[in-house]
């Protein structure tokens, strides 16, 4: 019995220690003396590998999700003679929910796992320690540019996802199924608001970017430096980040649209 209680205590202490370590890592990586000339090329390099290389999967999945929304929405709305509401349905579900959330999930799988594995391997091969030996702070040199790259890339990716998805809905709804072209766009325009829908979607994706990148970097930085440890950390990144995104999405939706 006492062992059980002790085990519970250990789990709690580990969780608190982990959260504290993650917070300290983030603080030390982000709040240092900014060195724009040194960090700019590093940021560009990471924006490329985190953002630009994720573009393809975002565009393709955005297009298909938009097309599926158009198809499913049409078959239901046409029963009520309300197929002109297809435009706002596709646009609102993409801008408010699917754009930020699916982008964050794909980002966690595509870029988050890569970040964890990369940093984990750096740790395992003692590159991080070597940097410290040379008097270079690995948090500022390695973690910080990756964090900012993820933070800036995700909103851009989410916007691209929504835009491509709406185009996909347009292709299926208007070009294939014959919803009226003018009605599709004008009903959409009268229902979508800048502040309420587009801005809130961007805020959501900024929050998700923060959380997903932070989790990925922390898992990599704190992993056990063995092959098993790296594989566990990578899996844990995808699982934790996905759960965090889905949970936070509910909270944010309740705050924004509740």
């Amino acid at each position: 019995m006492l062992n059980r209680v002790a085990a519970l205590g250990k789990v709690t202490l580990d969780a608190i220690a982990g959260a504290g370590a993650a917070l300290f890592m983030l603080m030390r990586a982000l709040f240092g003396k900014p060195q724009l000339r040194k960090s700019w090329p590093l940021l560009m390099q990471q924006m490329y590998s985190v953002g630009v290389l994720s573009l393809l999967i975002i565009v393709v999945s955005g297009l298909f999700i938009g097309m599926v929304l158009g198809l499913q929405g049409y078959t239901i709305l046409v029963d009520f003679g309300a197929e002109q509401s297809l435009g706002p349905m596709v646009a609102l579900s993409l801008l408010r929910e699917l754009g930020p959330v699916v982008t964050a999930l794909l980002f966690a799988g595509r870029a988050g796992s890569a970040l964890t594995a990369e940093i984990g391997l750096m740790k395992a091969t003692e590159q991080l320690s070597s940097l410290e030996m040379m008097g270079v702070d690995p948090l500022r040199r390695v973690i910080s540019p990756r964090f900012w790259a993820g933070f800036y890339s995700m909103p851009i990716l989410a916007l691209v996802f929504s835009a491509v998805g709406i185009y996909g809905g347009y292709l299926v709804g208007v070009r294939w199924l014959g919803v009226d072209d003018g009605a599709f766009w004008s009903v959409m325009q009268s229902n979508v608001e800048w502040g309420q829908d587009i801005l809130n979607g961007v805020i959501k994706s900024l929050v998700f970017a923060f959380v997903v990148t932070w989790i990925a970097l922390h898992k990599g930085y704190q992993c056990t430096p063995t092959s098993v440890g790296i594989s566990r950390a990578t899996t844990s990144t995808v699982v934790t980040a996905s759960l965090a995104v889905l949970g936070l999405d509910f909270v944010l939706t309740a705050l924004m649209f509740g």
Partner: protein, 155 residues
């Protein structure tokens, strides 16, 4: 020159993002002047506002000219007061203008309909902060059915 190619790719990436935002903003969202253009406020008291909400449209002959910006209860008798924010583009309403709460379609959302009044030398134009006194409340279906049944009983 790998870093130059990287910078080029990132630059393109950012441009694609801005294009997506422009597409969403200009093609998908309403580019109505009301969200950023100059506006003025008008007030109207109703007996019953039905299902009117903040941000409901204010229309003249079906054309959106503004939005409901605030709904509150005022006075000793708690009368609903509706604050309407209307685009400066349409600032020539006379004080004989009437407002009514209408429903778009049978089951649609409720909106405010403005009926511009006549204009001659004796009437004044509505300005920022003015009240419109000629108001017609929302039709509440339950009240209508109640009145109908009551009327039937008297015959």
């Amino acid at each position: 020159m790998e870093s130059r190619n990287t910078q080029l790719a990132v630059g393109l990436f950012v441009i694609i993002g801005i294009l997506a935002l422009l597409f969403l903003g200009l093609k998908a969202a309403n580019t109505n002047v009301l969200t950023n253009g100059e506006t003025y406020k008008l007030f109207a008291k109703f007996d019953n506002i039905g299902g009117l909400k903040e941000r409901s449209p204010v229309k003249v002959g079906g054309v959106v000219v503004g939005r409901v910006s605030k709904i509150s209860l005022v006075g000793d008798y708690y009368e609903p007061l509706v604050e309407m924010t209307i685009s400066k583009e349409y600032n020539e309403f006379s004080d004989t203008t009437s407002v009514s709460i209408l429903t778009s379609g049978l089951l649609g959302e409720q909106y405010i309909g403005l009926n511009p009044g006549f204009i001659d030398d004796t009437v004044e134009m509505l300005e920022d902060g003015d009240y419109i006194y000629d108001t017609k409340s929302a039709l509440v279906l339950e009240d209508l059915i109640g009145q109908f049944l009551f009327g039937q009983g008297n015959d």
